[in-house]
Amino acid sequence: MRGRLYWQLAKCGWRRQTTYRAATIAGMFTNSVFALVQGAVLVATLHAAGRRIGGYDTRDTLTYVWLAQALIGPLAIFGGTEIAERVQTGDIATDFSRPITLQGWWLSSDVGRAASAFVFRATPQFVIGAVIFTLAIPTSPVRWFAFALSVWLAVAVCFSLHFIADLAVFWTISPRGAISSQVLLMLALSGMLLPLGFFPTPVAHVLRALPWAAAVQGPIDVFLGHGNAGFSLLRQALWAVALLSAARAMAAAAHRKLVVQGG
């Protein structure tokens, strides 16, 4: 019974995302331009360093760039202020009047949103890159399956990180601190701007163990066949479970101390 509800919510999230067509196209354009610039910079760096850094050759690097840019949509890397806004305006009251947990509602619809963004934004975005450059595309169905799984785990991790930052508004009133810190950490530590393999090895080790890596570097590693995919998926799954539980506890605490703004 509940499963049907989550499925319906995901469908609503999907449909809602498909109504933002102009934003999707604008986003793809921006990401493509960024990918061209980032690709040029990283390939230049790579060549200066002797054509190989931390397991990345030119083809892997370009694949990384286009894949990372493609994942921005489904993972909503810059998103995640909707709940904070709802807390600030007091619309969160309506969320608390439904017979479902805050997390159940928002996670389900976010999964639908991510699926839609994956199909209509990420895929064409990556295809543009693959048309312009020679990219490393997996041939094994197992690898594709592992990649799909990895993206879903990344969606759960990303959702939780956003959700936690958003819920901080309950304690801080102004959302800016928590949300912008979270976006900053995400950009710096997830492998979104620079592959973690490009960092000095000890630093890369630490970064890979953090939750942000599970959001972006995880699926990219699986796609490129870097490292042990099973281990990478396991690490992502552990982060997903830990963060979802933390977010759930935080939502419950938020309700206990809830101050709904406005009349």
Binding site: M1, R4, L5, Q8, L9, C12, R15, R16, T19, Y20, G90, D91, A93, T94, F96, S97, R98, P99, I100, T101, H255, R256, K257, L258, V259, V260, G262, G263
Partner: protein, 328 residues
């Protein structure tokens, strides 16, 4: 939980309080913590099947009370029971059994057709398909929503959207419906439609309704009982007519005479206005009946027509808001 209380009172609040701590600027940088008593000890019980109006001036604590009754806010003190449950502890369980409409907020999916939100509600409240369909048809008919069911919510007019908000709160046939300003911003036709719908709902399904509003027309049309709250305290709890009798015992008899005359001199009444052949006589209904007065006027002059004016409820309530509990 199954005490005899619950058989009659489906909504109960006892010494209910809610205070908010807010920071206020108290100088250049210094901030003081100030406690706002939004609800300062409210007690009432709503019997099953009644429609109660919950009114009070802006900032009186109405919305805060509704949020505590629906489990959205945790009370600072006192006791609340709705359908036998403690709302904030059993929020999700309670949400299945009640409906909530906040007139200034939306439960609907902004970017999607109205029908999508209704379909989701079926799953959210686990309503069997056939029962949902029957209920939806009823709501769509009564609230005349058929023409815009497939329109994205963001393109609806306020009145259309509000009908959608009320419908979605009702599709699971709740025992109690909480409405926080459901007619805000609606035109007279939409208001009438919503009021008629709520009256039918109460009559046919026996749904208990707790309604906050600034539109006393809602109260006059719908509510057998009125609660007035001010500064977080209940200052009146009773029927609308009791309110009139208590605060404005004076009535006005308007008489049309056959010809213009100087002000009549009638025992038990006082002429407050003369306009041509028409005169206005004020009397205290506690000491004089309208019938006696009419008889006396008929003796003194040639009476053509007459009406008795009730005091305007708006005036009565305005006076109560102004004078606060001192009015009692």
């Amino acid at each position: 939980m199954s005490g005899s209380d619950d058989d009659t009172a489906v909504v109960m609040a006892r010494d209910l309080t809610k205070h908010f701590t807010v920071r206020r600027r108290a100088g250049r940088v210094r901030r003081d913590r100030v406690t706002v008593e939004a609800v300062a000890g409210v007690t009432f019980a709503v019997p099953r099947g009644t429609i109660v109006g919950y009114v009070g001036p802006n900032g009186a604590g109405k919305s805060t009370t509704v949020k505590m009754l629906t489990g959205i806010l945790v009370p600072s003190g006192g006791e609340v029971r709705v359908a036998g449950l403690e709302p904030s502890r059993r929020r999700i369980e309670l949400a299945r059994r009640i409906g909530v409409v906040f007139g200034q907020r939306s439960q609907l999916w902004w970017d999607l057709p109205l029908a999508d939100s209704f379909e989701l509600a079926r799953h959210l409240y686990a309503v069997p398909r056939s029962r949902h369909a029957a209920r939806l048809t009823e709501c769509v008919d009564l609230l005349e929503m058929a023409p815009f069911l497939q329109t994205p919510v963001r393109q609806l007019s306020l009145g259309q959207r509000m009908r959608g908000e009320i419908a979605i709160a009702l599709l699971h046939d709740p025992e109690v419906l909480f409405l926080d300003e459901p007619t805000i911003g609606l035109d007279v036709v939409s208001k009438a439609k919503v009021r008629a719908f709520l009256a039918d709902l109460n009559a046919l399904h026996g749904t208990t309704i707790v309604l906050t509003t600034h539109d006393l027309g809602d109260i006059e049309r719908l509510c057998s009982r009125l609660l007035i709250i001010d500064h977080g305290r209940t200052i009146f709890d009773g029927a609308l007519n009791d309110l009139r009798d208590r605060f404005e015992p004076n009535r006005t008899l308007v008489v049309d005479l056959a010809a213009p005359q100087p002000a009549l001199r009638i025992e038990g009444a006082q002429v407050v206005r003369v306009d041509g052949a028409r005169q206005w006589l004020r009397f205290d209904r506690r000491t004089t009946t309208a019938a006696d007065l009419v008889a006396r006027v008929a003796v003194a002059a040639d009476l053509v027509d007459l009406t008795v004016e009730e005091p305007d409820i708006e005036d009565v309530v305005a006076r109560i808001y102004r004078d606060g509990s001192a009015a009692f």
